[in-house]
């Protein structure tokens, strides 16, 4: 499990034409407790993906710091991107195995593939898979490495609702079985309430934290749609400043 401190003073891109710059993130501070499941909710284009890229270390061009609470050791990180990003010239199974660190044999990947309904596809090349299946492979890849920090960028977009529900449940099961810190980006508030310990609302661009709230629905009642809806209503009533995001 990783504790993560995100401290970004400014992240800007050069403007496309001429002078000036486009500020994607400004004065954003979020702390993730070890083992916590946090959902980031914000309008599309507000810089959420940029934020994940900074946390993952893919983007180092920013003013600020990302601290992980495990001393010097970098967290073992799983990253589920918005698109599946599978290697088309490697089979499903190879794509997953390649993500594993060299000293691990991935003993329980067979089981993982069973649970995710991918077992009979493991010898196939990704181009043979449907979009939803490719997404599941990308998720399996992230689960397989047993991450201490899992970054997810709208991973369930474009899955059909029953599949999305099943994989959401799987995600929660995996997370409860093997606690790890999760940062989950979504613009679907119901999804966020179903999954998260804590919601962080972003405005933007430039992205900055508008509001944070703990989700107090017990884990066993998260599949109760009425409870989720009631929570959403209460948020809207108590926090008019984030109503646009609800």
């Amino acid at each position: 499990m990783s504790r993560v401190e995100i401290n970004i003073r400014k992240k800007a891109y050069p403007a496309r034409h001429g002078l000036g710059e486009h500020v994607a993130i400004r004065d954003l501070h979020i702390e993730l407790e070890a083992g916590e499941f946090v959902c980031l909710v914000g309008p599309s284009g507000c810089g959420k993906t940029t934020l994940l890229n900074i946390i993952s270390g893919l983007d180092r061009q920013f003013d600020g710091s990302i601290g992980t609470g495990e001393g010097k050791a970098a967290p073992r990180m799983g990253y589920v991107f918005q698109n599946p990003r599978l290697l088309p010239w490697r089979t499903v199974r190879e794509n997953i195995d390649l993500a594993l660190p060299a000293d691990e044999d991935g003993g329980d990947i067979g089981h993982l593939l069973e649970v995710m309904d991918l077992a009979q596809w493991q010898g196939q090349y990704p181009q043979k898979l449907s979009g939803g299946m490719s997404r599941r492979v990308a998720l399996a890849r992230a689960f397989a490495i047993r991450p201490t920090l899992l970054l997810m960028d709208e991973p369930f977009v474009s899955l059909d609702p029953p599949t999305a529900r099943r994989i959401r449940q799987l995600l929660v099961n995996v997370w409860r079985e093997r606690p790890h810190t999760v940062l989950f980006v979504t613009h679907d508030l119901r999804e966020a309430i179903t999954l998260a310990d804590r919601l962080v609302f972003l405005s933007g661009p430039p992205a900055t934290v508008l509001h944070q709230v703990a989700v107090d629905i017990p884990r066993d009642h998260r599949d109760d749609e009425a409870a989720v809806e009631a929570f959403r209503q209460r948020l809207a009533a108590e926090h008019p400043e984030i109503r646009a995001l609800l």
Partner: protein, 247 residues
């Protein structure tokens, strides 16, 4: 179902028949009939002349091919990954692409003497810009999303190279190799004709002076056959291998 009428063997037979017919009609030393040519081919092979000269030419082909491919691949990838340098040197590439092969050959012999080094250099300089341009396209087309994925999952240098970059560059490499063989073997004969004392080009020059058309055709057939074998047994299977994952 493939029609019997359009079988490839039939096409080859038709070609031979036309050749035979034309030769019988002309009855001229300028076009010997197929059987005479194959007779020369047989004799030259038995005497060891043909294998000797063919072997030397193939050795030169291999040396210049390996040099041009490795240098060109390195340069091409480098330019493909460095935009500013690429723009700076683009003019050079265009110039080298457009210098006629014969000019390079003559200049190399003038500058470096009638040596083996000059011969190989001339061929490499002719082929190099081609490889650079092809591989530069490959390096430019590298998928950024996949590179990020590899970085996020800590693939490391070797794993990234082998599983992410190499499969993307491979088709470009094969394309460069296939056009490369075709280009190099044409240039290499000119190089040999102008400044070497052995090899296919030298032999063809000799036959030309003796007006021995059967000899010219016999050597041509042997050479084309070898190149076709390389293409069919090495390059085509590699190409298929590279495309295996495509739908």
């Amino acid at each position: 179902m493939r029609s019997v009428l359009f079988h490839p063997a039939l096409s080859a037979l038709l070609f031979l028949a036309l050749w035979q017919g034309l030769a019988a009609l002309l009855v001229s030393p300028a076009l010997p009939p197929p059987l005479a040519v194959f007779g020369v081919l047989y004799e030259e092979t038995l005497s060891g002349q043909l294998p000797f000269h063919l072997g030397i030419t193939l050795a030169r082909l291999l040396a210049s091919f390996v040099l041009a491919m490795s240098l060109g691949t390195g340069l091409g990838i480098f330019l493909g990954r460095h935009d500013k340098l690429d723009r700076f040197f683009d003019q050079w590439l265009v110039i080298f692409l457009n210098v006629p092969a014969l000019v390079t050959v003559i200049l190399c012999y003038v500058w470096f003497g009638l040596t083996e080094v000059a011969a190989i250099t001339a061929v490499v300089v002719n082929k190099l810009p081609n490889v650079v341009v092809t591989l530069r396209e490959g390096a430019r087309a590298l998928d950024r999303d996949l590179l990020e994925m590899a970085q996020a999952y800590r693939f490391g240098r070797w794993k990234t190279l082998r599983h992410v970059i190499w499969p993307q560059l491979f088709p470009f490499l094969i394309a460069a190799a296939r056009t490369g063989i075709a280009l190099i073997w044409k240039i290499i004969l000119v190089v040999e004709l102008l400044g070497r004392g052995n090899g296919m080009g030298y032999q063809l020059h000799l036959f030309f002076q003796l007006f021995n058309v059967a000899g010219i055709l016999a050597y041509t057939i042997a050479f084309v056959a070898v190149i076709q074998l390389i293409e069919a047994l090495l390059l085509k299977p590699l190409d298929r291998q590279a495309k295996r994952w495509r739908r």
